[in-house]
């Protein structure tokens, strides 16, 4: 078996390392910035996390039974002192982050090569033909262009930092090797998602990350609630996946292929699709259904807050920085299609802005530190969709990137807090909730590094100048206003409404994030006198990633300072060498969409609907956000917070928000209960009564007939002889006459 497997494995490795052909689609003209782009081992970027998965998976299997028993028992496995731990619990610390670090370095080489080369057309690296049926072929091919390179940088870079953090966070967990196996597998699928050169490959990654998300949410499967959260995520995502699949079928029916390059070239020429036509609208809406599932938008966002049941670094990597942004990537990747459908784009923007506001209001009244961040993520994803929905694809992707920095930072910071709280409670055997902010307070004194870095993340997400979130979120909000004011904008009033809603939601963001920081780090400590002695700062392996992400959260926004702001005070007074760098960098990817938009909608506006230019509104939104942060600091600081078990139940509208608008209950009532009842009908009536009844009836009838016929067997020889003779006579009679 192993011998037979080995040559094929070697062949596969060789195939990955040596591409069959590297093709720059079309004749790439040599630009002014340098020669053609040569990819550097792109296959290895994908392969390394897969190898990590195999190695860690083998270690996990070697330790599988003991670990599974420990998880089922709900307790922790005594792993002994650090020095004497078995290899299964020490090797993953090297393999897990190691493969990611290598993949990041290779990505970095590719990225820097792309910076110095002209990359007008995407480079597609073919490895082998994955499937070929009739005229339909799907190649295992990777596409390298500005968008996928940027996503690869985020996935491997932020992923590496989170892997390093995990070494500290998960060190004492019984399932340590299993954790890293899943995490590496996730990165593998995420890279397939962003690097695949066709919708089919993207779908492979799309499903794979969904699987890993399920595995990691239910990582502590001994707890029913946690394994249920995993199932919920998986099932809700299936609804979205249905949309993705239908959109793919429509694309294939229209273009006869699923490869990106020919589809987008064809779509831009509008030979198969009509601008604003029903077909392209259907395709984009079905794609958006998929995106709404994966990226947790209304109405499919309900799984993401529950997904916080997973380990906190998982929440940071999968449910904040990378996987949930796949929907945004999908829309940005399909920008030409979305630009062709004003209805599709308006839906994306509308759902995005509604989600941004809706989730932000829920976040105001959550007490679980991770739930606040979860709803904040849903809200920020809404902003990204607003961006890509108004044709500002670069702005959406820009916010995706900065959000990956500061949200990963915030989640990892909350992980450090939970880690510390958990240890404190562990020492005194107290069973309070280590994630409830009402039990925290005053942690600033115990964990200063976490405190500072998380404040940076909070100010970044709140949109405080000059941190990353200010530039990215403000750009999106501005683009909504500009798009609504375009010459032939489809629904100008609607976009004005979107713009004001987005501004309001940004203020809510500033409020709930400040509330979270104040409740966690400021005021007096509510953990308990004995427990507080055991609160401690995170170890270096955990705080170093925090520090790196904090630096990125500060400077990450500077790569895309709007041109209008450049020379003003807000644009750092012209100190930066470039403006809108990311926008220009992504231009080859988004050019098609922009041409379509320019042709049909005309120039976008240069003033907000109520007057005022970009600089003025950027200043207003910064000042408003700063005012809200200051106000929230005062208001929440003045509130008397009591520990969770003494806290009164929230009342009035606060209670509605605390219960998340009862959406879960509503879904339970509208969707889950009817399905349960229909299933019970199918089970009790159709299966148990009709089908089982028929089968049993056949049995009973046979039994009855057999019983009746057995009466003929009297045991009397004379009777037998008589019947035998009679039979012979009958046969003779029949044959003679």
């Amino acid at each position: 078996m192993t011998l037979a497997l080995r040559p094929s494995l070697v062949a596969a490795l060789a195939a990955l390392a040596l591409p069959a052909s590297v093709a720059a689609q079309g004749g790439a003209p040599a630009g002014e910035s340098g020669g053609a782009f040569t990819p550097f081992l792109p296959g290895m970027i994908v392969l390394l996390p897969l190898l990590g998965f195999l190695a860690n998976g083998a270690l996990a299997l070697a330790h599988g039974k003991k670990s599974a028993d420990a998880v089922r028992a709900g307790g922790e496995l005594d792993l002994g002192e650090r020095a004497q731990r078995p290899l299964t619990h020490t090797l993953p610390s090297l393999i897990g982050p190691g493969v990611l670090g290598l993949a990041f370095l290779i990505t970095l080489v590719n990225f820097s090569r792309a910076l110095g080369a002209s990359l007008e057309e995407p480079v597609v690296v073919h490895y082998w033909t994955w499937m070929a049926t009739g005229t339909f072929t799907v190649d295992a091919a990777l596409q390298l262009d500005q968008l996928s390179l940027l996503m690869m940088m985020i996935v491997t870079g932020v992923g590496f930092l989170i892997h390093v953090f995990s070494v500290g966070y998960m060190r004492d967990d019984a399932g340590y090797p299993r954790y890293f196996a899943y995490l590496n597998l996730f990165v593998f699928f995420m890279l397939v998602l962003v690097m695949g050169a066709s919708y089919a490959l993207m779908f492979v990654g799309w499903e794979g990350v969904g699987l890993c998300s399920y595995l990691l949410i239910g990582f502590w499967f001994g707890d029913k609630e946690k394994s249920d959260a995993g199932k919920k995520a998986f099932i809700v995502n299936r609804i979205g996946d249905f949309g993705f699949l239908v959109a793919m079928f429509l694309l294939y029916a229209t273009f006869g292929t699923l490869d990106f390059v020919p589809i987008f070239a064809d779509a831009q020429l509008t030979t198969s699709l009509v601008y604003g036509g029903g077909l392209v609208t259907a395709i984009t809406l079905f794609f958006f259904l998929g995106a709404a599932g994966k990226s947790a938008q209304i109405p499919l966002y309900v799984w993401l807050p529950d997904a916080m049941a997973g380990p906190t670094p998982v929440s940071a990597l999968i449910h904040a920085a990378t996987m949930v942004t796949a929907g945004v990537y999908l829309v940005a990747r399909s920008s030409v299609l979305f630009a062709l459908s004003p209805v599709g784009s308006a839906t994306v923007a509308g759902v995005g802005v509604l989600t941004a506001l809706f989730a932000a209001t829920i976040a105001l009244q959550q007490y679980d530190i991770k739930k606040v961040l979860a709803y904040s993520t849903v809200s920020q994803l809404g902003y990204m969709f607003v961006g890509v929905g108004v044709g500002a694809y670069a702005a959406g992707v820009f916010h995706l990137m900065t959000h990956a920095f500061f949200k990963a930072l915030l989640f990892l910071g909350s992980g450090a807090v939970i880690h510390s709280m958990h240890h404190a409670y562990h020492h005194t055997h107290k069973h309070d909730d280590p994630q409830d902010m009402r039990n925290m307070g005053g942690l600033r004194a115990h964990m200063p590094i976490t405190w500072i870095t998380m404040w940076i993340g909070t100010l970044a997400i709140a949109g405080i100048w000059p941190l990353a979130g200010f530039f990215s979120k403000d750009e999106i909000i501005w683009q909504v206003a500009a798009f609504g004011g375009a010459v032939n904008a489809p629904y100008p009033l609607l976009y004005t409404l979107f713009w004001m809603t987005a501004l309001a939601a940004a203020m809510l963001t500033a409020f709930y994030m400040t509330r979270m920081m104040v409740m966690t780090f400021h005021g007096s400590n509510r953990t308990g006198a004995e427990e507080a002695k055991h609160l401690h700062e995170a170890p270096a392996v955990m705080w170093v990633p925090l520090a790196v992400l904090a630096v990125l959260s500060v400077f990450g926004g500077w790569i895309n300072v709007p041109e209008a702001l450049r020379t003003s005070f807000l644009g750092l007074g012209g100190a930066l060498p470039m403006s809108e760098w990311l926008h220009h960098w992504l231009e080859p990817v988004t050019a098609g969409a922009h041409e379509v938009q320019l042709e049909h909608l005309g120039e976008v506006a240069h003033a907000a609907p109520v007057g005022g230019g970009e600089v003025a509104w950027a200043a207003i939104s910064f000042l408003a956000a700063a005012a809200v942060v200051a106000a929230a600091f005062k208001v929440v600081g003045a509130q008397k917070t009591v520990p969770a078990h003494d806290a009164p139940a929230p009342t009035g509208f606060a209670n509605v928000l605390y219960n998340k608008y009862y959406v879960d209950e509503l879904y339970n009532w509208i969707v889950v209960q009817p399905i349960v009842r229909a299933s019970q009908f199918c089970w009790r009536v159709i299966d148990a009564t009709i089908i089982d009844g028929t089968v049993n009836a056949v049995g009973w009838v046979s039994k009855g007939v057999g019983w009746g016929v057995s009466m003929f067997q009297t045991g009397n020889v004379s009777t037998y002889a008589f019947v035998l003779t009679l039979g012979v006579l009958v046969i003779l009679g029949v044959s003679v006459f």
Partner: protein, 97 residues
């Protein structure tokens, strides 16, 4: 000539069949079966006069089988008699449902 032989064979066979059906004594029933076999033998021999030697060869087979059957059948009857002190077939009816 053949007609008389066939008639004799038919009479013997009917007597045998009738005996098997109406008598209760196992020995008598056994003898009646022998009678049926020999009725067939008579017919075989008669027809061999017309159609060749095959009929007579079959008679030997029938006689051999009848001898074997007699041995087995009598053994069964003796063993039944030892058990029940009777050879009335009406009283043996255990082999039923």
């Amino acid at each position: 000539m053949i007609t008389e032989a066939i008639v004799l064979s038919a009479i013997l066979f009917v007597i045998g069949t009738f005996g098997v059906l109406v008598r209760r004594n196992a020995i008598i029933m056994f003898l009646c079966i022998e009678l049926q076999l020999n009725a067939v033998n008579v017919a075989f021999v008669a027809f061999s006069n017309l159609f060749g030697i095959d009929g007579q060869i079959f008679v030997f087979f029938v006689m051999t089988v009848a001898a074997a059957e007699a041995a087995v059948g009598l053994a069964i009857i003796i063993s039944i008699f030892r058990h029940y002190e009777s050879v009335d077939v009406g009283s043996f009816n255990l082999l039923k449902w």
